[in-house]
Symmetry: C2
Subunit: 217 residues, 2 copies
DNA sequence: TGTACATCAGTGAACGCGCGTTCACTGATGTAC
DNA sequence: TGTACATCAGTGAACGCGCGTTCACTGATGTAC
């Protein structure tokens, strides 16, 4: 009998065993789908549980509360934001300024591909932005960009009296984030309706204007 | 008796007459305070009514529903965004490039002064962004900036084949919006902790990099 | 100027809803011997 | 290998809450004559 039962379970994968195995991670996946479908204003824990196919009380065994889940979701978002940037950089010219351009394109691509997640990360007050986990994840995205900018411009910290290094970093960050936020919300029709290739070309030109060339010292 | 009652009412302004007089506008003011205090994720119509000192059923006589009120609130936000930019421009050098810089500073100031309203305008799905009222208001903010950029750079539409005009406009918009969003959320500590004067100086330098100087034709 | 009456702009009670969370429970799993 | 037992990870019912909206109502205002 035992073998038959096991076979039946294997043949009918929709019948989850009583214990899920990795519900925590399944809930995060479900949460992301919930976020995509409902927007982060319509997000609910019950909806997430339903998507994951468990009772709505089950998440309590894996996350302290709904904001705990959102915090972890945002943290993962930052990790993916970084890896999206790295993916773009890998395909680009290794020259530092080209690397910055690629990073910005990656940043924007992430936002456009995951608009609701992006808003959770930057526009919501629900994740715990003081918690170790999230601070660390967000920080690494920032540090990556700062290091890249320093390398590209030859401006090192501490900032000189003209704040040139600050202008570099803030500029790249502002352009990336501004375009990402506007484009992912569809609020920049001027660029939004352009073919992707041309749009990227424009973005790269913009980045080139923002990042000062290396000063020979 | 009548005169005495009138006097009493005047002496005790906290006693509102049965009819409010201009409840619609009072509700919008209250809604903005609610937004400021609770954030746009904690916003509720009942909270607004309470702040305005009326029953929570009263708003129904002035707005179709809660999203109608939020739509009007967002539209007013865009109008104030424009007027904040104009205020900064009035104090600045009339030279076009200086005017753009001032506009960007005004944009950022608005976002920093009204972070929750700013998010309602750009990060929420609740206002009706297809409605005439809101489209018109948002449009006017955009048109103002476009006209200014065209004037500053001498690049006219239709865009040339290098998309120089597009880079100009998108660049200014991106820098303004990116810095506004990040600074108002406190997510750009690099600039956030700087004295305002220095911060503005950095922003202006950035804008100067983004906006190409007029090409002599 | 007075009166009748329609309309407007409030009130307060009640509605149903979906939410996050708690709780006692139970099935499944892992471990000690 | 078997058995007893602790622990883990689910269930489903129930909790209280705040929400937006509806409703019959009533007080105040405006208008016609």
């Amino acid at each position: 009998m035992k073998t038959i039962d096991t076979k039946a379970a294997a043949a009918a994968p929709q019948m989850r065993p009583y214990h899920h195995g990795d519900l925590a991670s399944a809930l995060l996946d479900a949460a992301e789908r919930e976020l995509t479908d409902k927007g982060f204003e319509g997000f609910s824990l019950r909806g997430v549980a339903k998507r994951a196919g468990v009772s709505h009380a089950a998440p309590a065994h894996h996350f302290q509360d709904v904001n705990g889940l959102l915090t972890e979701l945002a943290a993962r978002g930052f990790e993916r934001l970084v890896s999206r940037q790295l993916a773009f950089r890998k395909k680009a010219d290794p020259e530092p300024r080209a690397q910055i351009g690629a990073s910005v394109l990656g940043y924007i691509a992430f936002a456009v591909e995951n608009p609701s997640l992006f808003r959770l990360m930057f526009g919501s007050q629900r994740p715990d932005f003081n918690g170790e986990r999230l601070v660390q994840a967000a920080r690494s995205a920032f540090d990556d960009l700062v290091a890249l900018a320093a390398k590209a411009t030859g401006n090192s910290d501490p900032p000189d009296k003209d704040h040139t290094a600050l202008v570099d970093v803030a500029g790249v960050w502002a352009v990336a984030h501004g375009l990402a936020d506007l484009l992912s919300a569809g609020r920049l029709p001027l660029l939004h309706n352009l073919p992707e290739a041309i749009r990227n070309q424009i973005i790269l030109k913009l980045v080139e204007r923002v990042v000062e060339p290396v000063q020979p010292s």
